[in-house]
């Protein structure tokens, strides 16, 4: 039923190529890779070359005839004095880290609950994955207008007995709103991953631990958590990749506000490009984000290596 990374079938042995054929052999191996690599290179790298080029120009769509002053560091200088950019950086960290951590914690919790025998377990699992499947645009609109709205929102109706029936969630708790929205969307993903991890856990091991008199918490920490670790790491990695780019929910629910409370980097770059039409400055921000991402990614990629290191070796 369930299998884990390290109990995989035997590794295919790479044929030791005969010396004379080594070069052509290695070329043949590359062929299947070429279409995908070329495609990705053209579609993802070329636009960034243009972005880099624009970032050294004073390029504003509003002023098509103004001199571009290429090359100039004006955009970068502007950004380093821009307090909204700093706010956006901090918001990005906050609005990524908290949803990722919260969805992992809640996700593992729900997975533990669902891993037990519960009446209607299959049905519950069907329900819990739904938030991950729904279209973020649709979910954001539904949250904004039918759930969180001060007057018509069903949340305030449920909270009325507790005296919170008039809360202006989107206005007064905007960061919480966005965090809750993202956590809601991504928790099912973490549940699925954790369930996969839990189901790969050997019953015998648990049985043995229990016979030894270990308590539930110790068993969880000593056996279950290490077992789940690669799954959680994968969840954190993929979750971060997607949540750090969160745009739909912010665009629709809070529009980055009030003030700049929920303005993250994607949204701020969007505003700079399409409200200020300042292509140069928006491009420079994008370049800074890319550089920062590469730095962070080097750390993150080390994490992936640990995820697939065992099976990764088998490829050799």
């Amino acid at each position: 039923m369930v299998n884990v990374v390290d109990s995989a079938p035997p590794v295919p042995k790479v044929r030791t190529a005969r010396p004379g054929r080594r070069r052509s052999e290695s070329w043949i191996r590359r062929v299947p890779l070429v279409p995908a690599l070329v495609f990705m290179f053209i579609v993802t790298q070329l636009p960034f070359v243009l972005t880099l080029w624009y970032s050294f120009q004073r390029y504003n769509l509003n002023f098509p005839t103004a001199p571009r002053d290429f090359p100039t560091f004006w955009n970068y200088a502007q950004i380093f004095g821009d307090h909204i950019f700093r706010t956006a950086v901090l918001n990005t960290v906050l609005l990524t880290a908290v949803p990722v951590i919260a969805s992992v914690v809640i996700g593992v919790g729900i997975a533990l609950l669902l891993n037990r025998y519960v009446f209607g377990r299959g049905f519950l699992r069907t329900l819990i994955i739904s938030p991950f499947l729904v279209m973020p645009t649709a979910a954001a609109l539904v949250w904004k207008f039918t759930i969180l709205d001060t007057t018509f929102g069903v949340l305030n109706f449920f909270l009325r007995p507790f005296g919170l029936g008039n809360t202006n969630w989107i206005g007064q708790h905007s960061q919480l709103t966005i965090i809750a929205f993202l956590t809601w969307m991504w928790t099912p993903f973490m549940v699925l991953l954790s369930l996969a991890g839990l189901q790969s856990q050997g019953e015998d091991q648990l049985e043995a631990a229990r016979v030894d008199g270990a308590g539930s918490w110790r068993i969880f920490r000593a056996l279950t958590l290490p077992q789940l670790r690669p799954y959680i790491e994968l969840g954190v990695l993929l979750g971060s990749i997607y949540i750090v780019q969160a745009f739909d929910g912010i665009y629709i629910i809070t529009a980055g506000g009030p003030s700049t409370d929920t303005t993250n980097l994607p949204y701020y770059i969007y505003q700079t490009a399409f409200q200020a039409y300042d292509i140069g400055r928006a491009s420079a921000m994008a370049v800074i984000v890319v550089i920062a991402t590469i730095l962070i990614a080097t750390v993150a990629l080390r994490l992936i290596s640990s995820i697939f290191s065992e099976e990764g070796m088998r490829g050799r």
Binding site: F119, L192, Q245
Partner: protein, 287 residues
């Protein structure tokens, strides 16, 4: 995963604890599901029932909102053209992803190229770049190629956003293919295409399905590129929905009905193929 094993913890827990945990599970899951349920329910209401500060839980269901979303009413266009674009873009890009990703994954697993690790990292690293930073160049390139507002543009871009994940996932699935099988085929002189068609694809077809499902979900739900690069002829379902960002008149039921229809294809696919979803997301670690 149909099989419901009673775990050790279950057997040892006291009946009351078991009951309480069961109830807790139901409550938590229902809280998470509630917004989806509420969306579908509100779509079945009349606007009078939907626009109230004390929600009507009991109401006379009507399909009028769903019908008007379909046909278009009150100045709003109907959903079908948007659905059509979404279907074309999603299906074609998903097929294209598989077509490109499978050989690439093969070259990164079964007969790996020398620096396969770096290549894999390159694919994944493209997922980390902010899309918003490339939108202006993409817009200008698309304009020069006369691809603005064209489904082909979204097909190309959605292929690019899903390809890295697909390569990564398919690679994990390919690693599970027994080496002897491939070796045998190769000794028989089967080329790459034949190896894939005759041997590999039949074995990893569940993995392929899982990958396709994930690509389908992300392509169907994508908003940012669609809103910036299409208007009419390539506009997808999320673009239809942003018409509701600035509401007018009582609109909650209409919005909910539209949102429900927009989510339905992916919801149904995801529900029907839950196990695939788990497999796909855990990168093939779960068989």
């Amino acid at each position: 995963m149909k099989q419901q094993t009673r775990t050790l913890a279950d057997r040892q827990a006291k009946p009351l604890t078991k009951l309480l945990l069961g109830v807790l599970t139901w409550i938590v899951v229902l809280i998470f599901f509630f917004p989806v349920l509420w969306m579908a329910l509100t779509g079945l209401k009349s606007e009078t029932d939907a626009n109230t500060s004390t929600p009507h839980f009991i109401f006379k269901p009507t399909f009028a909102q769903y019908a008007s979303v379909w046909k278009g009413a009150g100045g709003l266009n109907g959903l079908p053209p948007y659905l059509e674009h979404s279907v074309i873009v999603t299906v074609v890009s998903t097929l294209l992803v598989l077509l490109l990703a499978l050989p690439a994954a093969y070259a990164l697993s079964i007969r790996p190229v020398r620096k396969w690790r770096d290549v894999l990292f390159f694919f994944i690293s493209t997922k980390m770049l902010p899309v918003v930073g490339a939108i202006i160049p993409l817009y200008l390139i698309a304009r020069n190629l006369h691809l603005l507002d064209h489904v082909l543009l979204l097909i190309i871009l959605y292929t690019a956003i899903n390809l890295p994940i697909a390569v990564w996932m398919l690679r994990s699935f390919l690693l599970e293919v027994p080496a002897e099988v491939i070796e045998a085929a190769r000794v028989d002189g089967a080329g790459l295409v034949r190896q894939l068609r005759r041997v590999i694809i039949p074995i990893i077809s569940p993995g392929l399905a899982a990958t396709a499902l994930i690509c389908f979900i992300f392509a169907w739900n994508e908003f940012f590129l669609a809103v910036n690069l299409t208007t009419v002829n390539g506009a997808t379902v999320p673009i239809y929905l942003v018409g509701f960002v600035q509401p007018e008149g009582p609109f909650l039921a209409h919005l909910s009905a539209a949102a429900t229809i927009a989510c339905l294809p992916v919801l149904l696919a995801g529900w029907a193929a839950q196990d695939k979803l788990v497999r796909g997301l855990s990168m093939g670690a779960v068989k």
